[in-house]
Each structure stands twice: as structure tokens, then as C-alpha cells.
């Protein structure tokens, strides 16, 4: 049985390109019932092997970015920063012009604090893509230079505001960061600031539409 399963996997890998092979690997990770950390231990070798075999392809970079992000699970052993630095250096050397480098802005937390700005700056210089530039300006503002952050957010809005950030735009997130509600405005006894936005289907939704009702406003996520 096991042999058959392996043979089927090998045959499938031969027929499919690296993209499908990686998708199959990612599906296995997703379906695995292990905890996050155990998942990393379990699948790390497979991702490393995949990346080595397909080096130079975008799929190999996707695998290396997963490995970079997952170094988070090494933090307790004190090996996270060294491992992350090694992977990030290899990525920058081999894939300096990939659009996927934008992800490194989101994975900043595995990089050594005093080196984040340097990485973001290097990527900013290397990349030809506005999407990656925007991600690096954002990451620099957000994670390295609180003093100059507002100037960088304004630059982000002016130059890259319309580009997507997650499921929103850089203008949206930068505007929120530039003008958060002051704590005093969110205190008990204060009028609740209005919220305008969209629901799951993209239909517009406004908090003030519910005036006249008692509202429980619940910031939530399914995790």
C-alpha cells in the first residue's frame, strides 16, 4: 500500500511541473493535524529538497520564503535570527528581481532587529517592481523607523497608494496608520467613531447605520 502511494506520488511529480508539486506539498501541510511548530519540523526537509531541485524557479523561491517565515519556530532555541539571515541572503542573491520579495516585508519578525532596515533597503535597490518597492517602504516605516514613519507613509500614499496591500490598498492602511483614533476618543462616554467599510460580499456597511440600536462591536477572527 505504502509503496503504491509513493509510486503514485513520484509518477504525479514526473507529470506535473514544479508549481503543481509545490501545491501538493502545501496542501499536505495544510491538511496536517500537527501543531505549527511540529509541522515545520515535519515538512522542512521536503521544502528544502524541493527548493534545491527547482532552484531558479519562482516555485523554489516560494518554498524558500516558507522556510524563511517558519524559522520563527526556532526563536526559543536562539537559532532563529541566524537561520533567517542565511535564508534571506540566499534569496536576495538568487532572486533579486522577483515580485515575491515583497513577502519579506511581512516576514520581518524573523530578521535581526538591527538588520531589518538594511534588508529592506537592499531589496528596494534591487527590485524593478513597484509592488516590491511599496512593500519595502511600508516595512521600513512600520518595523524599523518609527521616527520617520509618517513621512514614509505619506510617500507610500503618494507613490504607491493604489497598489494592493493584502485585501486592501497601501493608501488605506497608511491612512489608518497616519491617523489612528486617539485613545481619548475611544474612551467610555465618548461617541463611537464611525466606521465605513464593506462586508464579506463587498456590500457597503456603516456603523452609524445602526444608530438607535444597542451595538456590540466585536473585533474578531476565526483562529
Amino acid at each position: 500500500m505504502q509503496f503504491l502511494a509513493v509510486a503514485t506520488l513520484v509518477a504525479a511529480a514526473l507529470v506535473q511541473g514544479p508549481k503543481d508539486e509545490l501545491a501538493a506539498l502545501q496542501a499536505k501541510v495544510k491538511a496536517s493535524k500537527l501543531g505549527y511548530q511540529a509541522k515545520y519540523q515535519e515538512f522542512k526537509p521536503a521544502f528544502e529538497k524541493f527548493a534545491a531541485e527547482h532552484e531558479g524557479t519562482e516555485s523554489a523561491l516560494t518554498a524558500r520564503l516558507w522556510l524563511l517565515q517558519q524559522t520563527w519556530w526556532l526563536r526559543r532555541s536562539g537559532k532563529m535570527e541566524a537561520a533567517a539571515t542565511k535564508i534571506a541572503d540566499a534569496i536576495l542573491e538568487r532572486y533579486p528581481k522577483s515580485k515575491q520579495l515583497a513577502m519579506i516585508g511581512d516576514y520581518h519578525y524573523v530578521l535581526p532587529k538591527n538588520k531589518k532596515a538594511e534588508y529592506f533597503g537592499r531589496i528596494l535597490k534591487l527590485t524593478p517592481h513597484d509592488e516590491v518597492k511599496a512593500a519595502m517602504v511600508f516595512a521600513t516605516a512600520r518595523y524599523t523607523r518609527p521616527k520617520n514613519a509618517n513621512a514614509l507613509y505619506r510617500k507610500l500614499i503618494a507613490k504607491y497608494g493604489k497598489l494592493p496591500y493584502r485585501a486592501t490598498t497601501y493608501a488605506d492602511i497608511a491612512n489608518a496608520l497616519l491617523s489612528p483614533h486617539p485613545k481619548s476618543a475611544l474612551a467610555i462616554g465618548q461617541p463611537a467613531p464611525d466606521i465605513t467599510g464593506t462586508d464579506v460580499d463587498g456590500h457597503s456597511l456603516k456603523l452609524s447605520d445602526y444608530r438607535g440600536k444597542v451595538i456590540v462591536l466585536d473585533f474578531w477572527g476565526d483562529w
Binding site: 467613531p193 467599510g197 462586508d199 451595538i215
Partner: protein
């Protein structure tokens, strides 16, 4: 999970009450799946696909879930109440609404 929200919504179906979410799941598809699977009937803002979305950022939300209870005039009255305290907060504010309509 969600059982308290569900019972609140059910118990107060005919009252001037609304549970409004601000959701930080990673995509509309994922949120849609959650709503369907867990049969959640109340509406949520979709907050840009992750924690630290524009709405949560403006509101300075750092932990999830975060709860605000707002009265019928739109004033923030309670923060961070859960369980029985949440029920009590909502019932108190609903009593204020009832008092007002009796006066009119």
C-alpha cells in the same frame, strides 16, 4: 466558540440590538467559508485581510477578540466585557432604550 454571540443574537432578535463584527481573517473567501460553516448570521466589516487591517489599526486594536458596547445614541459605554458581563451590559443599555420609548 461563537456560542455566546449566537445566544445573544438569538435572545435579542426582536430588540433594538445589533452585533457587528470587524473581521480580520485573511480573505473574503475564507471569511465566507467561516460564516457558512459556523452558521454565523450577523454582519461583519471585512478588515483588509489580516490582523492590523485599516479599521483595527484606527481603533488601536492589539488583541482579538476586542469588544465595545455602544448605546443607542452611539456612545461607547463598555469595553472588553465578556460572558455574563456582556449580557448585563447589553441588557442595561436595552433597558435605557425601553425607558426612552415609554417616555415618548
Amino acid at each position: 466558540m461563537y456560542s455566546h454571540e449566537r445566544s445573544l443574537v438569538k435572545r435579542l432578535a426582536n430588540k433594538p440590538f445589533a452585533l457587528i463584527g470587524v473581521n480580520s481573517d485573511s480573505s473574503r473567501d475564507e471569511l465566507s467559508e467561516v460564516l457558512k460553516q459556523k452558521n454565523l448570521t450577523w454582519r461583519s466589516f471585512f478588515d483588509g485581510g489580516g490582523i492590523g487591517g485599516p479599521i483595527a489599526t484606527r481603533w488601536g486594536v492589539r488583541g482579538w477578540p476586542t469588544i465595545y458596547v455602544i448605546d443607542h445614541k452611539g456612545v461607547i459605554r463598555y469595553k472588553g466585557v465578556r460572558g455574563g458581563d456582556l449580557d448585563h451590559a447589553v441588557d442595561t443599555l436595552l433597558a435605557e432604550v425601553a425607558k426612552r420609548s415609554r417616555r415618548m
